[in-house]
Symmetry: C2
Subunit: 440 residues, 2 copies
């Protein structure tokens, strides 16, 4: 009996074109992370369940892939990279010089209801700055997001900034005092893009029994968005600092971070305050942010994060502050595709070498060696078949050039070069001439 070759629902393969594009994207952003001194770490995909469930929300506990291993241990697959980071920091606290800046690229697992664009296994790409309360760290994370976007060729984007204390302060001002109520309110407000203001109003009314008037004022306040320059904007919101201590703290910290950012060579229109940014996650305690690509608003945030003050609370009584962000890799790939910034190739080689006779194969391999030594990735078609078949293989995979070795070429120790895009063929070139054309 044959087995049907298929992936599990909600899981997927990356074919070469996607995998090449993903590799390139990761190479670019990890290069940015490293340019700021973030270091890679690696933790297992599987952990003791207790390590993961203590910090996860109820929602996430339901989605956890959890089972007994061979030794009867209660284990689970990680659902994010932050909880393993908390475990890691607590475990190696004495070996890690603080502040600790790490990045990680790895897959996480959530048994969510399968739906379009949502996968049960997906790659997270996180970078975090642990063990310092300095606002300079928050600013650096914004800098890294900025540099990452530029490295990917994305020019028109906005990093939307907010502060959990601002949201808390606004909630308190409008009479929402309990921590759980505030979190509930923020969770609902965060859904505004999905369910619209009416939906949010209805849910707020039902969940928190607020008056229509309060809800209206609350939504108006959380919809404040910076459209003018820094001085003007902060002058305009300055009166809110009087509302309560939380608002004061939030606005002042945002201003401090602005001060650092404005001194750097970043386009000032690329980051702006937006009081509607709530980040659903309960663990944020300071400045928070989301990143949208201007031409692709409906895509949602492609890089989000913020400061959290209780990273290691599950494992240690000492508190440890951190700030970090996560790149939404899958969304970003969709976005880059839409912007025409993704490579459409299914090959990593620029050249395919083609032979029409067994006799020339060894010359073909020697020519390939020479191209590789000149840093040109080169593939040799391994069999002797029709020229047409070999050229169509190059076409399908996206090689830029074919190098053809036939009788004439063999005799003259030369090669024929075909540009696969233009179709232009140059016969019997020397290796050096061909290399020059390929490298130009």
């Amino acid at each position: 009996m044959l087995v049907t070759p298929r992936t599990l629902s909600g899981f997927r393969d990356h074919l070469p074109k996607e995998a090449i594009a993903k590799e390139k994207l990761l190479k670019k952003v990890t290069q940015v992370f490293e340019s700021f001194g973030f270091v890679p770490i690696e933790t297992p995909h599987m952990e003791y369940a207790e390590v993961l469930i203590k910090q996860g929300s109820k929602e996430i506990q339901k989605e956890l892939y959890r089972f007994q291993d061979h030794g009867g241990r209660d284990v689970a697959l990680r659902f994010d990279q932050t909880v393993p980071l908390a475990r890691f920091i607590s475990q190696y606290r004495n070996e890690l010089p603080l502040p600790f800046k790490r990045y990680v690229v790895g897959n996480v697992f959530r048994g969510e209801r399968a739906q379009r664009g949502r996968y049960r296994e997906f790659t997270q790409c996180d970078f975090d700055f642990i063990g310092s309360n300095s606002i300079a760290c928050d600013a650096e994370i914004i800098q890294v997001i900025y540099a990452s976007m530029l490295s990917l060729g994305i020019e028109d984007f906005t990093i939307w900034l907010n502060h959990r204390s601002i949201l808390n302060g606004i909630c308190q001002y409008f009479g929402i005092k309990e921590e759980t109520d505030i979190q509930n309110a923020l969770r609902i407000i965060d859904k505004i893009d999905k369910i619209g203001p009416e939906g949010v109003s209805a849910e707020l009314k039902e969940a928190l029994r607020l008056t229509d008037k309060t809800i209206e004022a609350l939504l108006k306040t959380t919809s404040i968005k910076q459209t003018q320059d820094k001085e003007e904007f902060f002058a305009e919101i300055a009166p809110m600092k009087q509302w309560n201590a939380e608002l004061k703290k939030g606005i002042e910290e945002l201003e401090q971070m602005y001060q650092i950012l404005q001194d750097l060579e970043m386009d000032k229109s690329s980051y702006r305050v937006n009081f509607s940014i709530a980040r659903g996650l309960a663990y944020y305690t300071g400045i928070i942010y989301e990143t949208t690509i201007t031409r692709l608003k409906s895509l949602g945030s492609v890089c989000s994060g913020g400061r959290y003050d209780n990273l290691t609370k599950t494992f240690s009584k000492e508190s440890m502050s951190g700030v970090g962000a996560s790149i939404g890799l899958d969304r970003l790939l969709v976005g880059l595709e839409d912007l025409g910034l993704l490579s459409q190739k299914s090959t990593t080689a620029r050249i395919l070498i083609i032979c029409t006779n067994e006799k020339y194969l060894s010359l073909a391999h020697r020519i390939a060696e020479s191209f590789r030594r000149s840093e040109v990735n080169t593939e040799v078609y391994p069999e002797i078949t029709k020229l047409k078949k070999q050229l169509s293989y190059a076409d399908q995979k996206g090689h830029e050039f074919s190098v053809i070795i036939g009788e004439e070429e063999y005799k003259n120790r030369a090669l024929t070069l075909k540009n696969m895009t233009t179709g232009i063929q140059l016969d019997c070139l020397s290796f050096l001439k061909a290399l020059e054309i390929i490298k130009s």
Copy 2:
């Protein structure tokens, strides 16, 4: 109640030093794979159990992490990258131009008994050439192994070559005829490094009831190893081609591959025939190989592989031939460490910028931006603390240089550069002068 921060037995974290070294190693070898036109693909860590168990040995089925998912599906974590490749090839057969050359870097899971140097989750790094029977593909895999070793700075290594038909032919010649008996014999002979010739003799005697004399002759034959040059060696073993058809086929195919390899610019002493290479795995059908580092013989093979003819048999009636190898990443890391070829740094940044006053922090960030634009990875210490503490952070992590910004430097728009290895400090340099020193 606090949770103890710990990993599962047999699982491990990579701290920055190890993770940086591993990343570098992977970057080098994947660059080699891509230079030959191998393309990356990605498959999920989790599959339907039936997809994985049909091809796995009994041993591996016992070690499988297998459980029911939320939808009651019988699922398991992959234990290698070859079975998922077989599923992948069968599933996308019509979309993939053949021959298909893929590489993959990813983690696999085996619930083995925990022991030193063996992990339950480990990274596999495979490259395979699918859909062609040409010996040129076998030769190319050897070329890739060769180029990979050189790219890692390993110069003294041997790729040991053998052929499953040679082993089958030898077994048949000594009266071991049944396929299961042959596999059993090969599995036992493969243990020679672990249990010695006496151990192997004893096991062969018990399992196959061979006479002492036959065992002696069998072991003598399988211990044939090429010590002389190609012509001489193949002349010496030529009479064995008369023993039976299997031996004839095996020796001739090895000779054909030798012909291709000898035409390339590879050091001829780096690959040699060795009849004792058995590769425990039943699925090999053609040329097989292992790679040892000369100075680290006890390490075992760091890159092994071979040709298999029935890759997709679980999923399809059509047979599909492939040839490929797998880099033993963990072993290789141990080996490179022993050879002193591993980076000992815990940082990805070359420079740490240090400030002694809040006032200079923004200048520090601007200087960092300039270094990064000149492609020098640069970290800024995010807090204002004692100079000594910041320098000791740079020492611990392994930054090559510290850049110190104090009162003098701030006033003169200059910087002080300290070489962390030599301790030499140059005061109040211009940025360009400092850059020149760092880049020299």
